[in-house]
Symmetry: C2
Subunit: 224 residues, 2 copies
């Protein structure tokens, strides 16, 4: 590749974290541009008319949608793999990517991170307590679901790390930035998060710091 | 394959239509089970704890999430292809799949089909007029965006049909069932929809009939 790839992202967007983790797992260097996606510039809307982060500029082309970007990275740099070998196992990993990107995000992330942090960042509005309560309840269901998977498997989709773990860790790490994960609820989940948090690909996420919204002390602690 | 695949779906779910179209484009036969996904049975939740349709039972395994299923179909039956050849072109097709599955769905389908039909089907509640108005406004933006693509390309992601067209037609055909597409707004879009509507894969969708909610006469008409 002649030119360094450039990632347009927002530090506390789980979908951007998914791509940052995937790029780092693939050992690809990239430049970063932080986008305030809730008030997109005209230039940014030219890059992605959907007005969403992440956007990856690579080889003179513009890629958008985190799943499309991750599939591209997997095709271009299959080693180390982030998808298992057989089509059925890949389908299971991709099912879980969908689970975290859609169900977990809508049921948990939007209600917790969205209400407690992103609303304030974007417009200064106060969180709605019924949504926060709903997010906390939903989070318990999701932790139990993940724990159920991790009691049978080392990683979420099988015995090797995959995009399922990347998608899950992207959501959970954003919630952890606002202390919204009850790590005491499942030892399996804590062990899994500890393993992924210790990977070199995770380091840049742990040093994210949103001005005016400092993370809690345990956020970057590998022994949480 | 020893046993016929079985698709658990709901006729007016765009994500189920996406999978039905992809299966038919791949010339695969399958059994159908209609699921009332808003009141999922215990058996269905065992198949997919996310409680979402579509679910595909194939080779003794259970696949969920429409994108994971479509990628699986593409890997198993690459011919005829529903993704272009180069990784960058595939990323563009997958970007558009994300566009329709997420942005179009949330901005248009939920506000129109969701308010006007699915709410009634699921619980008898009345549509909220501000959401319907928003859906109509958003739909214009999306039609113009598609028209812009189709002025440069024969199909949405390039010169061959792809999952982008399948994802888009899945959403639009659901809206067309409740007469919510202004086909007069773009001749390019009408020509594209006419081409995809004429394909053998589309026929089963055109004979869908939800009891108590008949489609308008133009719905199944190839000359609309």
């Amino acid at each position: 590749m002649s030119q360094l790839a450039r990632l347009h992202h927002f530090p506390l967007s789980p979908f951007c974290r998914k791509v940052r983790l995937a790029l780092a797992e693939k050992r690809q260097k990239f430049e970063e541009v932080v986008e305030r996606y809730w008030e997109p510039s005209a230039e940014f809307l030219m890059l992605n008319p959907a007005g969403k982060v992440p956007v990856l500029k690579i080889e003179g082309r513009v890629l958008a949608e985190s799943t499309a970007i991750c599939e591209y990275l997997e095709e271009l740099w299959p080693d180390p793999p982030l998808l298992p070998e057989g089509p059925l196992d890949r389908a299971e990993a991709r099912r879980l990517v969908g689970w975290f990107d859609d169900k977990f995000y809508r049921e948990v992330t939007v209600n917790l991170l969205g209400e407690r942090l992103l609303k304030k960042v974007a417009g200064g509005r106060a969180p709605e307590s019924d949504k926060v309560m709903l997010g906390i309840r939903n989070c318990r269901f999701h932790i139990d679901y993940m724990a159920g998977l991790l009691d049978r498997r080392r990683w979420l989709a099988g015995n090797a790390i995959s995009l399922a773990d990347v998608a899950a860790a992207a959501q959970l790490s954003c919630l952890d930035y606002v202390s919204d994960v009850d790590w005491d609820r499942s030892e399996s989940l804590r062990i899994w998060y500890s393993a992924i948090k210790s990977r070199p690909s995770f380091r840049p996420l742990l040093s994210d710091h949103l001005p005016g919204f400092p993370p809690p002390p345990h956020y970057a602690d590998l022994d949480f």
